[in-house]
Homo-oligomer: 204 residues x 2
């Protein structure tokens, strides 16, 4: 420990700069979409020189793929944090659906949607995105099973959990152009009721 406290180590400075670039990429994906996200805009937004940006991420694809990985971590952390802080005054199942519904209508979902749709017609992006999305999908499923106390050893329970996630994905897509919160709340009320009457729970 020979450094003074005011001096930020090089490794830490690099880490912070990369994080600023990736955050800026996600913000621009939300604001301007995939086509409107350029490396020039990203370096301006992040306050990072073009030279430094090009050193770390030579192409738009490098930047966007790294942003996807960054997104993956943000998504996972967001969801786990929200799940850990379920409000005590809301019935459990409805609270879990609220967390999922919020997650799939957040800016993080919107940025992921932009990448997902762009990757459909961009094989390079698709090759990078596919395995990551599988990993995120498995992780989200695991967390949902745990939150709902679902007993996946019972036939049909796994599919009911998957249906819940496909439902909130569909609700997320419906929310991208207009605010769909009121309709979504009624659907999730009803879905909570259905899960409470049809889902087999694990014994605690």
């Amino acid at each position: 420990m020979t450094e003074t406290p005011a001096r930020v180590p090089q490794g830490e400075r690099t880490r912070l700069m990369r994080a600023r670039l990736l955050d800026a990429t996600v913000d621009l994906l939300v604001e301007r979409g995939f086509a409107g996200t350029t490396t020039t805009l990203v370096s301006e937004r992040a306050g990072v020189s073009r030279g430094a940006q090009l050193h770390h991420f030579p192409t738009k694809n490098d930047l966007v793929v790294a942003a996807v990985e960054h997104l993956t971590e943000v998504r996972g952390a967001e969801l786990a944090a929200a799940a850990a802080a379920l409000p005590p005054d809301v019935p459990r199942t409805r609270g879990v659906l609220q967390v999922l519904g919020d997650h799939f209508t957040s800016p993080v979902f919107v940025a992921a949607l932009e990448l997902w749709v762009a990757a459909r017609t961009d094989p390079g992006l698709q090759a990078s995105l596919g395995p990551l999305e599988q990993k995120v999908g498995r992780e989200t499923h695991r967390l949902t099973v745990e939150l709902l106390d679902a007993d996946e050893s019972v036939e049909g329970v796994r599919e009911l959990v998957q249906a819940t996630l496909d439902l909130v994905r569909g609700l997320g897509l419906a929310n991208t152009i207009s605010d769909d919160a009121a309709r979504r709340a009624r659907i999730l009320d009803r879905w909570a009721h259905t899960l409470d009457t049809t889902l087999t729970r694990r014994q605690r």
Copy 2:
């Protein structure tokens, strides 16, 4: 009727040319995405001169908006035709879900998804797309209620029908990058079971 049968009237020729341009636009949206769809490619694909194309659709936005309207008709007709031809050997509810699942994974859904996502960051496109999507949404809902014999006068039934459509929209999105047919079939099996045990039907 003074015309010979071999002669196609001018109005009909114009209608056919417009249909070719709009079909080509939809095809290109599926193959190359919104950003990759250019007016030059559309006129080449449709076999229509640039001059004629520009006369009917001066800008990409004109072309895409007209293609959305065209899509709307194609979507409605496709869905109604499939619903009218439900296979007799499959239980009714599962058959209806198959039709919806097929519809939301068809090229027509993919083209609409491209427009939907592009419209999120394009106010002009959004202004044209919003009302149309509302109309299509209402029509799809009405058809689904009818196919499922759902009694919407009973509390919660409307929301269960909406959840069904949000589910298949989510399944459609999940299918855009990789073929998700096997997983989708299992989820729809389970959803059919859920609807059969929780949905109140109309008295015939």
